[in-house]
């Protein structure tokens, strides 16, 4: 069978499928309005919700910081939690901006690479959030506790802070895509956080690289530049 015959066969296949498209203005408007709403249920909605909740959380933390402003350890702890939360929210915001910049009219390799890249960044936001853990061990430490807590307080507080620091650093370093395939506990911990789509995205990024590198030369630009 020659190459041309495949194309002839495809034409026959095309003729076999006698589709009819029932698209009129009413249906088009229905598609426009309903799809516009449904898009918000996806990644964008999750990020907007995350930023909304994060903002509320930040306001509460600022209020809490203001209430305890005469307690330096508490203020520092609350400040650190605010900072980590702000970094995680910035990551969410960045993902939202990236989603907004994606154009399906760009070439397939570039667009798919951007989409898969966004899914991969979900993991980064998750890792950052764990860095606030040690500050939850110090957020209740008042001036009075420091001055009058005695050996018992320090015997509890110091190991607690050390354990939380070690745990936060350990989780930050180990919650990676590579480990999710190697360590069961990582896979369990990140299940339900979009891990499956992240995993597929990583696999797809590898496929895109394979697909692109065959010729060994540069790609065509994202927007059409040649005359058609």
């Amino acid at each position: 069978m020659s190459a041309d015959e495949f194309q002839q066969l495809w034409k026959k296949y095309d003729a076999r499928l006698e589709h009819s498209l029932q698209l009129n203005l009413r249906l088009l408007r229905e598609v426009q309005s309903q799809k516009a709403r449904s898009v918000l249920r996806g990644l964008t909605a999750g990020r907007i919700l995350g930023i909304g909740i994060g903002l509320g959380y930040e306001v509460l933390l600022v209020l809490a910081g203001w209430v305890v402003h005469r307690q330096p350890v508490m203020v520092l702890s609350v400040g650190a939690i605010i900072l980590v939360t702000a970094v995680a929210m910035a990551a969410y915001l960045r993902e939202l901006i990236l989603v907004g910049r994606i154009s399906y009219a760009d070439n397939i390799v570039d667009t798919q690479k951007k989409l898969a890249g966004i899914q991969r960044s979900i993991m980064r936001s998750l890792r950052i959030s764990w860095l606030q853990l040690p500050f939850w061990a110090t957020v209740f430490v008042t001036n009075e506790l420091i001055l009058t807590g005695g050996p018992l307080f320090w015997a509890i507080e110091i190991p607690l802070v050390v354990v939380f620091i070690v745990l936060a650093v350990y989780l930050y370093r180990n919650l990676t895509l590579e480990n999710a395939t190697k360590k069961k506990w990582v896979a369990r911990l990140i299940r339900g956080t979009g891990w499956t789509s992240v995993s597929r995205a990583m696999e797809f990024l590898r496929e895109i690289e394979e697909f692109r590198k065959d010729s060994g030369s540069s790609s065509t630009p994202a927007s059409p530049s040649s005359t058609i």
Binding site: M1, A3, F6, Q7, L9, W10, K12, Y13, D14, A15, R16, L17, E18, H19, S20, L21, Q22, L23, N24, L25, L27, L28, R29, E30, V31, Q32, Q34, K35, A36, S38, R41, G42, S103, Y104, A105, D106, N107, I108, V109, D110, T111, Q112, L115, S197, R200, F204, E207, I208, F211, R212, D214, S215, S217, S218, S219, T220, A222, P224, S226, I228
Partner: protein
């Protein structure tokens, strides 16, 4: 471009929608869902369409991008639009060809289904007889790369058809 002009362009190029949805989705509901999604994305991107360029090339880019994303998400549930009653966006009437051709078409379709998302896009564009230059532009790879990949894909397809023919004979 107003809605009426947009509708006309979609109707004129509806074959692209059908062939892509058939190649990326196995069941009818998913196909209709994908066609809806492609039409929506085409409409959303219509403002950026340069009328000096070929509509079909622009449409292929969007349709294939949507199809690949849709395929990878394994269809999100609850997003299909119901138009009420028995009204569907897409009506399918399968009219079989002669048995020999039918068998070959099935083998070709089976082969397309076995390809990964990107090779599938490449294969569809080749079968649609798009010039290498257009294929390279739509996919975002070089013409040399297109030629290399197509030669490999065609070689594998020929091999598969020969093997299957031997099995059937």
């Amino acid at each position: 471009m107003n809605d009426a002009e947009f509708l006309q362009l979609i109707r004129d190029n509806k074959g692209i929608l059908f062939k892509i949805s058939n190649s990326y989705c196995r069941n009818r509901d998913d196909r209709e869902d994908l066609v809806q999604e492609i039409i929506y994305q085409l409409w959303k991107s219509a403002g950026g369409f340069d009328i000096n360029r070929k509509f079909s090339t622009w449409m292929y880019r969007i349709a294939l991008n949507v199809a690949i994303s849709f395929y990878r998400q394994q269809r999100r549930s609850g997003l299909r639009i119901s138009f009420g009653g028995d009204l569907h966006l897409m009506e399918l009437a399968d009219s079989p060809a002669d048995p020999d051709t039918e068998e070959k078409i099935n083998l070709l379709q089976q082969y397309i289904n076995e390809q990964n998302e990107l090779d599938k896009a490449l294969m569809i564009l080749y079968l649609e007889e798009r010039p290498y230059r257009d294929i390279a532009e739509i996919l975002g790879i070089t013409e040399t790369n297109v030629a290399t990949k197509l030669s490999r894909i065609k070689g594998r397809l020929k091999q598969q058809l020969v093997t299957l023919n031997k099995t059937f004979l």
